[in-house]
C-alpha cells in the first residue's frame, strides 16, 4: 500500500524520492488537520479509505500527471486516527522548471480530492461525531469528467 500510510507522513522523504540533479524545482503541498470545521471545534479526526481503490486511483493520478508534465510525483495520504495539526496528505513534485512543478502539484491535490475514495469522521469538542463530505460525489460519474 504505497500511497496510504497509517504512520506520520514524511515530506522530506517524499522530496528525496522525486528530486534529481536535472529536476531542480520542487513544489510541495501538505494538508493538515484543522481545529475547526463549520465553526465547531474539532477534537480529533479519523480517515478511512476503500484501500484497494484508493491505491489504484492514486497510482492513476500519479501516472496521468507524469504523462502530462515532465515531472516526478510522490504522494501519501494518512489513514487512521489523526491529531489536530498532523499532516493528512503530503505531495512532492519535482521538475526542471517551477511552472511545471507548481501546475502538476496543484493538479495532484485537486484530483486526489475529487477521485480518491477516502472519508473522514470528525469528533467535536462536544463529543458528537460526524462524517464529513466535501460534496464532490454525486456529479462525479467517470474519472475523466468534472462534477
Amino acid at each position: 500500500m504505497p500511497f496510504l500510510s497509517d504512520t506520520p507522513l514524511d515530506l522530506a522523504g517524499l522530496i528525496a524520492e522525486v528530486t534529481a540533479p536535472d529536476r531542480g524545482g520542487i513544489a510541495a503541498f501538505v494538508g493538515t488537520v484543522r481545529d475547526h470545521h463549520g465553526g465547531r471545534p474539532v477534537a480529533e479526526l479519523e480517515y478511512s479509505a476503500y484501500g484497494a481503490m484508493a491505491e489504484a486511483e492514486c497510482g492513476r493520478i500519479v501516472e496521468e500527471t507524469e504523462r502530462r508534465w515532465p515531472v516526478r510525483v510522490a504522494l501519501r495520504h494518512r489513514i487512521g486516527l489523526l491529531a489536530i495539526g498532523e499532516a493528512a496528505v503530503a505531495i512532492a513534485v519535482a521538475g526542471a522548471h517551477r511552472d511545471e512543478a507548481f501546475a502538476a502539484c496543484r493538479h495532484v491535490i485537486e484530483e486526489l480530492k475529487r477521485r480518491v475514495p477516502i472519508w473522514k469522521r470528525e469528533r467535536y469538542a462536544d463529543g458528537t461525531v460526524e462524517w464529513v463530505g466535501t460534496g464532490q460525489a454525486p456529479g462525479l460519474t467517470a474519472p475523466g469528467g468534472r462534477p
Partner: protein
Amino acid sequence: MVTTASTTVHILLFASYAERLGLERIDAALRPGATVADALAYLRALPGGAELPARPLCARNLAHVGADAALADGDELAVLPPLAGG
C-alpha cells in the same frame, strides 16, 4: 440463446452509507445485463436503502463508473459517500 444464469455482484458500502444500511458488503444476484442503476435499485429496497442519494458515486472493479455502466458476473461494485480526502 437465453441464459438463465444470474449475475452475482459483490457490493461494497463505505463510511456513512455502510452505517445507514448497517452493512459493508452484500452479494446481489441481478438479472444478466444488469447495470449499476439496477444494483442501486436493489440496495434501495434494503432496510435503510431509501436514504441513499439519487445518484451516488460508484466504482466498478476499482474505477469510477456511471449509473449506466454494465455489470458482469463477479464484478465488485462500490457505492461511495462524498469523498473527503486531502
